[in-house]
Subunit: 162 residues, 2 copies
DNA sequence: GGCATAACCGACCGCTCTTGTAGGATTTAG
DNA sequence: CTAAATCCTACAAGAGCGGTCGGTTATGCC
């Protein structure tokens, strides 16, 4: 499995927030019930999203969470990275701030790291898929803003990223 | 981390086999020494590769392993899948023999699975990167057939799979 | 026939990460 | 004041990872 349920649950949480038409915050328990996910676990996940600046929270009664930005401006690479930690195909892979890819086995002996070419391509494929998807797309795909499933038939062709 | 060291070690093992110019088998201990990897662990990995029909073995003295096919005909999606198990971005994702993607949350209630679009794209990105890379490319990248690193400068442009 | 080599096989083990649960502290609307 | 919510920390069962170990079988060579 490439990703754990942290990404799955967290993304669903974000989609649920994006489905809200008004700017009123939604409580976690509402999300938990809508998606049938354990509330206490969602608390951990939403904490990561908050620390990454993706959602804002208001405490106290009638409090809850909101998207920190419009869904159109949120790309999924940021979301998944906030939930799962830095996305690298392999332990030895580290991305520098400038976007360069390093491998710890780089110059450990006689010949260049044989696998670097492969993992670089995989990394590129995943990053491209994640960064090329916005939260707004997923909200749309899930049936648009809340109020019931207005349209059950898919609008965007599935797998159009291929 | 997307993949564990099983994929890393296993691919390096395959590259090492691919570097051998002659058809003579190489012992695992030779590979272990060349790549500085634990021999006993490699045994487990090579067992998976053998069961997947990627390498052949000859037992007894002067025995060892060989590629079951020329490196040009071995794509990395098969190798990685043999090592890591089926490649799916998420637990609920299952690929049918016909290549269709299923999600266990598909019709569990009111609206379509919100994350399916995302994971489908990720799946596509990874599969494309892996299936579009042959073992021969990695062997070439690692410095070609054994006998020393004939060329240190990279020949193929890194990231050309984008 | 012995012996060294090397593939094969399964059991075991410490560790970390995952997937939560539990309990409490704090903030806020009504 | 109270209920509703976020927030925070600690704990825990389970699984997978990375690796070790001991033993069995098969084979080439002297």
């Amino acid at each position: 499995m490439l990703f754990s349920t942290k990404a799955e649950y967290g993304v669903r949480l974000m989609v649920e927030l994006g489905r809200q038409p008004s700017a009123a915050p939604i409580s976690l328990s509402a999300v938990a019930e809508a998606e049938r996910l354990p509330l206490s676990y969602l608390e951990h996940l939403v904490a990561r999203l908050r620390k990454a600046g993706l959602v804002t929270s208001t405490r106290g009664a009638h409090g809850g969470y909101r998207l920190a930005k419009p869904a159109e401006e949120i790309t999924l690479d940021v979301v998944v990275e906030a939930l799962e930690g830095q996305i690298a195909p392999m332990e030895c892979f580290h991305e520098t701030p400038e976007g360069k890819v390093l491998c710890s086995h780089e110059s450990d002996g006689d010949h260049a790291c044989a696998t670097k070419l492969l993992w670089t391509r995989v990394q590129g494929g995943v990053t491209k898929a994640l960064a090329g998807t916005t939260l707004a797309e997923l909200v749309e795909f899930a049936g648009g803003p809340a109020g019931g499933p207005a349209e059950t038939e898919p609008r965007a062709p599935v797998g159009s990223a291929a």
